[in-house]
Amino acid sequence: MADQELARDLGFLEAYTLGLGTMIGAGIFILPGIAAEIAGPASSISFAIGGTVALLAAFSLSELATGMPKAGGSYYYVNHALGSFFGSIVGWGMWGGLMFATAFYMLGFGRYLTGLHPDAPIVAAAVAAAVLLVLINYRGVKETGSLQNVIVLTLVGLILVFIAFGIGAIDTELLTPFFPEGGWITVAGTAGTVFVTFIGFEVIATSAEEIKDPGRNLPLSMIAAVVTPTLFYVLVMLVSTGVLPAEALAPDQTLVPISLVAEQYLGEIGATAMVVGAILATVSSANASILSAARVNFAMGRDKILTEWLNDIHGRFQTPYRAILVTGVVIVLLIVSGLPISTLADVASFMYLLTYTLVHVAVIVMRRADPTEYEPDFRIPSILYPVVPIVGGLACIGVMYQMRPVVQLIGGGIILVGVVWYAFYAKERAISTSLVGEAIAPDEAADGGDVYRVVVPVANPDTERTLLRYAAASAADRPEETELIAVNVVEVPPQTSPAQVEEDRVARQSELLARAREVAADLDVGLRTRAVVGHDAGDNLLSVIEDEDADHVLLGWAGPRKRSDVLFGSTIDPVLERAPCDVTLVKDPDEDLGSIVTLAGKGPNAPVSARRAAELARAFDASLTLLNVQPTAEDVDVDPETVGRETVEDIVEAADLDDEEYEPRVLVSDDVQETLIGTTTEYDTVCVGATGRSTVAQALYGSIPRRIVESADGTVVMARGEVRTPRTLREAIVQRLSRR
């Protein structure tokens, strides 16, 4: 089911909190001490550098994640773009990085426990916590979205309180000298250490498949999930180094630096709150890392770079228990290895910096190779490409270069594991082809410019052809290139997997779309088809409309509904209410249009209706009448005929009609509505504009269109123009970002 689209259920907010949950974690409670000791007050700049490097990576990751929404994240993209040699390195690198990061979190956890009770032995507590976490994940506890939100909110709240009260307590004397003795080199090197706090946002990329409108929500949530903690961290560092001298924060002076800082101005309660927050954060970060590691294992196993044995799912617990156990064993070994806590953090950072370097390369390779299946919903905007991947990649390498030799040595060791593994295991088995060659000598393909797109949902084989002809009629008059998009949605119940639709429904879908292609070939119009399987046809259609940047959507309509909760139909209502483009509903479509009448009144959509009517009249060689009915004048000075003619002329101008292609008809009556409805029955086809802004409500309760639909025997076309609502700042930014 290659061209089926999975229904998605994570919005911006869900994706953002998911990312934030893993980002606002352990790092911020442990790292200030380590960073302050090395870089002093300037360590806030180290955090800013780390955040910037992560932000650049977020751009490249967003493009790759929307282009290849697959489990495994960076590993998958690199393996796919650069081949299994680099895939093996990144796979092992991420796995190793996550193990080191978890060991780091757990040692941090041990220190916090000591903060609560001075006699708790750090390493033993760390091991115990790691074992407990591994067992919990082996067994599998459902982590619900709401629990995650509570944790995220608590942490954000604690940090905000810390910052808000701390800023007032800053002693500016302590902030001078701002820079450490080593100057910028030291500051940049420290950025490497703190980068471990920024590895969490990758989790958003790995959920790409489940994110709604990924072209928008994925980059936005990723960028927000990087920027928010970066700001927090910079401020936290300023407060920490401004409240206490850097030396007092050093790891050998205090186990929980943030708590010590908070104690200065929030007292005992503040200190304890910070320790509790830190414990919460370490556990949630470590938990996310263990789960992420298992996902990397799974993706590697699927590409045959690792043995599938590791990825067995437990029959009772539904967990990847073997992967979790193996990861857990290594984590415990790392904890007891005696490596200092800062080295653990550095190695984790190093491995992720390496990963993101290759991610940046992968973007360039994918762009150059441009394989047909690579159609990311989000592309790095052209003014930022190729600057972002090049600068981003160099920045990662730069930070790695500044890191301590021991870190580079361990990192190199993990890379070597990846290389050796590739040579002796993966090379023979891996199923992956590199696109590097394609990237160096790409096929040149022309890109379409501005195209007028008409989306036509097709569901009924009887009306399919006619609807497509109507859509073609609308496209025919456009000066620019045009394209029809026939889309069919197979709606599956909410709990059903889109991947598990009955075969006959899928067969029916492909039949419908195949027919659409035949019709298009007959009519000699460009047509693409989209097969969608989703939980909600209306929502699914809307995302296709947005995705295709459609100018017009034309739907068949079965007629008024008896049910009170839907006005036009549960599928049509959301499209009519929310589609940004022109919308046309057609009831009883017929290829023999005969005489067409369009209501030329004062309604906001009367010109659109006239335009649709004219398009149809031209394409089907039908007659066109613009009908206006005026009330009998009470005032002798006003000639209703003249008013009516002027109204019709306004519409002719707005709809850009030629004089010879329509008949004006103005009637004067005591009962406008009755006359209008009575007159329309003289014609074969009636076009009417939807009334008012709140389309659905007014089209229904504004009684004229409704009564026309009820009394007409022939085709009824109801048109609505595009909706121009002022863009919010967010939408404007997104539009800028995604402009191709």
Partner: protein, 142 residues
């Protein structure tokens, strides 16, 4: 025992061994010609980080379905993966969707602790549905 009379039965299966045991019993009890809808529920966190990636659990589901199809050869077998946060509720509404008149399952052995932690799916399934439920003896030696 007389064959179970039903037009459509829904059979939630959790694992390959569950599929083997449940379907082996089912094969004996069901009237041939019964439409059997085998479902596997992928429990979602609703925004949280799930215990394994969806893609990985979908692969597992396919393995479970393969076993079920093998065991139930000759029957009209359909398969479905359902995704939601509440397993029992999902099975019930899945049964609704396919118009099933019977739900058949073997309860999985669960410790008191895990019942406390993640609820008792079997109990929820029996109490939370509006149609007949057939509980097969658990194969895990109870």
């Amino acid at each position: 025992m007389t064959p179970v009379v039903a037009d459509t039965v829904v059979v939630p299966l959790a694992s390959e061994s569950d599929a083997r045991e449940t379907c082996a019993v089912l094969r004996e009890e069901l009237d041939p010609g019964t439409r059997v809808v085998v479902v596997h529920v992928i429990e979602k966190g609703g925004g949280g980080l799930d215990k394994a990636s969806v893609a990985q659990r979908e692969e597992t589901a396919e393995d479970v379905f393969a076993v079920a199809r093998g065991e139930l050869e000759g029957f009209d077998v359909e398969t479905r993966i359902l995704y939601d946060t509440d397993v029992a509720e999902t099975i019930t509404s899945g049964a609704d969707d396919v118009g099933a008149d019977l739900i058949v399952f073997s309860p999985r052995q669960a410790s008191r602790l895990s019942r406390l932690l993640s609820g008792d799916v079997a109990l929820d399934l029996i109490t939370g549905t509006d149609r007949p439920v057939l509980v097969l003896p658990s194969g895990e030696g109870s």
